[in-house]
Symmetry: C2
Subunit: 152 residues, 2 copies
């Protein structure tokens, strides 16, 4: 028998494709929110969101919680620091570590964007319908359970 199948692969039904396509569609829309309202890049938004959620963190932990490469975190932190949306402070016991936390203005902007983010997600839920929205979330949770143990 043949080693190769003649049936072509349908890209529009192939999970790695449909998944990245859907992610791009949603990310592109959501990006307009933090871009238009705050002039943030995606790494900057994620850093802000992670600090807003967890409070004080190190750069390494921000990367772990938001699935970002350490160079992305490093650059986003620099940028947010220049805007005075976050503050650094060196650890007393281990001077390699810097504790990062939002400033008052950082917090204020975080709350504003978090609110817009919730509204965005609610709108998405409406568009997709309760059922599809739940199914999508359950499916994504399954992916996270099975593949999420990777470094990134």
């Amino acid at each position: 028998m043949d080693k190769t199948d003649k049936t072509p692969l349908a890209l529009e039904a192939f999970l790695p494709y449909t998944l990245s396509r859907a992610a791009e569609l949603v990310s592109r829309r959501f990006a307009t929110i933090y871009k238009d309202h705050a002039g943030l890049t995606r790494p900057e938004w994620r850093t802000l969101a992670t600090l807003g959620q967890y409070g004080t963190l190190t750069a390494t932990l921000i990367g772990a919680h938001s699935s970002m490469h350490k160079t992305k975190v490093s650059r986003a932190v620099q940028s947010l620091e220049e805007r005075k949306w976050l503050r650094r402070s060196t650890d007393e016991n281990d001077r390699r570590i810097e504790h990062l936390e939002l400033t008052r203005e950082g917090e204020r902007n975080y709350r504003k964007l978090a609110e817009l983010a919730r509204a965005f997600e609610a709108g998405l839920k409406d568009m997709l319908g309760e059922e599809s929205f739940s199914e999508l979330n359950r499916g994504l949770a399954a992916v996270e359970r099975q593949l999420g143990t990777d470094v990134f």
Copy 2:
């Protein structure tokens, strides 16, 4: 009442994040297949897959079917042409258009990779379980229906 909510946004349960996270997890794994077995980049794989599925196409159509920016398509086509995996031919009636099709070797490699792709997806289905896999697909289809009319 307050304009802002004090409840932080949980990034790990926020759809734009979980979706792009899952897409990256899956894409990263699948990428090892076309990288290791054929030394292809993602745009190159998608171009190959689209031509393999549809036969002869123009660059614009490849972009439409695979959600790729025209510069990505242009570069991927150049690269695949250099490998002699695809062939160009100018349209008789409209000399702006180039018809692109896989060479015999391109076809051969397409079939091999398509087979590996199917196996990869089957493995994913096993890992996630029938139910989660279906839910994920239905959820992604809903996203495509609602947001898929965008240019990209």
